[in-house]
Symmetry: C2
Subunit: 173 residues, 2 copies
Amino acid sequence: MPRVLIVTAPGFEDVELLYPYWRLVEEGFEVVIAAPQRGKVKGKVGYEVEAHISFDEVKPEEFDALVLPGGRGPERARLHPRAKEIVKHFVDAGKPIAAICHGPQLLISARAVKGRRLTSYPGIRDDIEVAGGIWVDEPVVVDGNLVTARIPPDMPFWMREFIRILRQRHPKP
Amino acid sequence: MPRVLIVTAPGFEDVELLYPYWRLVEEGFEVVIAAPQRGKVKGKVGYEVEAHISFDEVKPEEFDALVLPGGRGPERARLHPRAKEIVKHFVDAGKPIAAICHGPQLLISARAVKGRRLTSYPGIRDDIEVAGGIWVDEPVVVDGNLVTARIPPDMPFWMREFIRILRQRHPKP
């Protein structure tokens, strides 16, 4: 059973965390939420989720894939050097990464967008291009192990591609 | 491709509408949101969705399944006799129905719970029992065409069962 890590922080875009979280649980995967500290984390619209572990407790080598929700979480998460190291592990290992909205800010922090085709919330398009990424205005962009989307209505197409890639590596038993 | 109708009203529990909506879109189904009026409808936490049609415009015989999200929407929807007629169509035709949280209030209004095994938000358990339903405290309860759940964290299991039942009737092409 694949183990998926979600990296977030207070102010995350609520449904951009909740949709992939429940969707991957529905699929039968083990999903772990990491934040600066363990315990309750509040989204920008008002939902609260429980972070199972803190960034310091994450052992990224124990996970098969990474999800980076958007909102204001990524800007806060990138203040923690450990969050960048975690993201870098998935990048270097070529493990599947799903990022949406402002989630790719953590990919920029991990120096992971150069030469990659990806999308994001339009507000950070310039940051991605300055970092050497090829920004595309599509609901979902797949470049190897990297699956990116722009906004919440893209999520059905984003998760469909991410789960397809995960299933290629971890077929249904 | 199955066509699924979501019946709601202002004050719906946001993720109880958004999760099934996106999940069924991801599955490739056509999903239509109906509310007292066409246009923007606001959830109780703060998300806004677009109702594609009004209750008066719904032709229930054109749909294969029904979703009833919770929150304060069902109490408002049941004030509209047309909403009850719509629900009754799915009940009488034995088409798949997914209801969560306060969604089963519309099943009570349609006189559809007598003798059925179902769950709901615990606050309306007594109403269900008075109406002759058999209330069960489980994340998801399947009784024939009826798939019910209690609260948002039940949604992965709720949608897994609902989609399984829909796929039995409408196999993947």
